[in-house]
């Protein structure tokens, strides 16, 4: 596990360095993800250890958003003043975006056979 964690941090670090050096508008971890993807493609897949560590980390991906979410308490005043436009914009925009993206992709890939995927119970 330690090897895998070190590897993930190294790729994050490489991503952060790339972002800073080229003054990219994208954060380091996203570049790190792209770099690791490229490395996996070159190497022909992750080791069992890396796969397992990634699975453990991603299993609780939701947890990692909680601290930022609690930041809502800093904006109670603005939320109280503008709750209606914020609520309508977020709800409507989220649903429109899901629908537009899904319908466009569905229309373009309809003729492709979708491989069966094993359902996983949450």
């Amino acid at each position: 596990m330690l090897n895998a964690v070190t590897l993930l941090l190294l790729f994050q670090l490489a991503g952060e360095a790339t972002t800073l050096f080229f003054a990219l508008p994208v954060p380091g971890p996203v570049i790190g993800m792209a770099l690791l993807f490229a490395a996996l493609a070159l190497r022909g897949g992750p080791s069992g250890e890396l796969r397992e560590t990634a699975q453990n980390l991603l299993q609780h991906f939701s947890l990692l958003f909680v601290p930022a979410g609690v930041g809502v308490m800093l904006h109670f005043q603005r939320m109280a003043d503008e709750w209606l436009p914020i609520l309508i914009a977020l709800v409507a925009s989220s649903f429109i975006t899901i629908a537009v993206t899904a319908l466009v992709l569905h229309a373009l890939t309809r003729h492709q056979p979708a491989p069966a995927d094993t359902e996983r119970q949450p």
Binding site: Q12, V26, E119, P122
Partner: protein
Amino acid sequence: MSPRLGGNLSEVWVYLAASPLLGLTLTLLAYQGAVLVSQRCNGHPLANPVLLAVTALVTVLWATGTPYRTYFDGAQFVHFLLGPATVALAIPLYAQFGRLRRMTIPLLIALSAGSLTAACSAVMIGHLFGASDATLLSLAPKSVTTPIAMGIAERIGGLPSLTAVLVILTGILGAVGARSLYALLKIDDHAVRGFAIGITSHGIGTARAFQVSEQAGAFAALAMGLNGLLTAVLLPWLIPPLMRWLG
């Protein structure tokens, strides 16, 4: 060295509330409780773990008068893991390499459509219902993963910390509503479902997609990454003319 506070409960609280341990422990407890509730509800989208945990934590912090800063001193250790976890998304993504390659062009077209729709619809609807300019600018990057969205908000003149909250709310809304919407639109392909929720609801949508299937999760992770890249490049050009047009 810990000071001797023997017997005085409120002083013990004051001491612990100022240490990172409490914020960290509370975060994990709240999340575990939220997961338990979510499981009891058979993973019903409304019983979203992020929504439940955030609500519980805000209530506790508000009731005890603990400032967010103090809480975040402890919670930052969890927050930090977002970085390596984002990097780790490359692994499920790689597992879908074959299918991704066959779908490259459709994915890029759907990405462009979704990315533009997310930003423009939020700003235009917000404007229609009278949101202030600062709120509109903070709304624009709301479908992008938190760290990218905060960076974009700063560039286009929004409030990064407000954006962080709007991003999380968008994530929760998408995760809560996607299943019924897909049923309504008759979208069954897990690749399509995952991709659309990843575009709209970034990491929280991706977390939700992983609960459904590995394939949905991988396509959501891809969508989140690509949408982050595209939105970061697009919005600094798109938003100033859009704001001028809206007046």
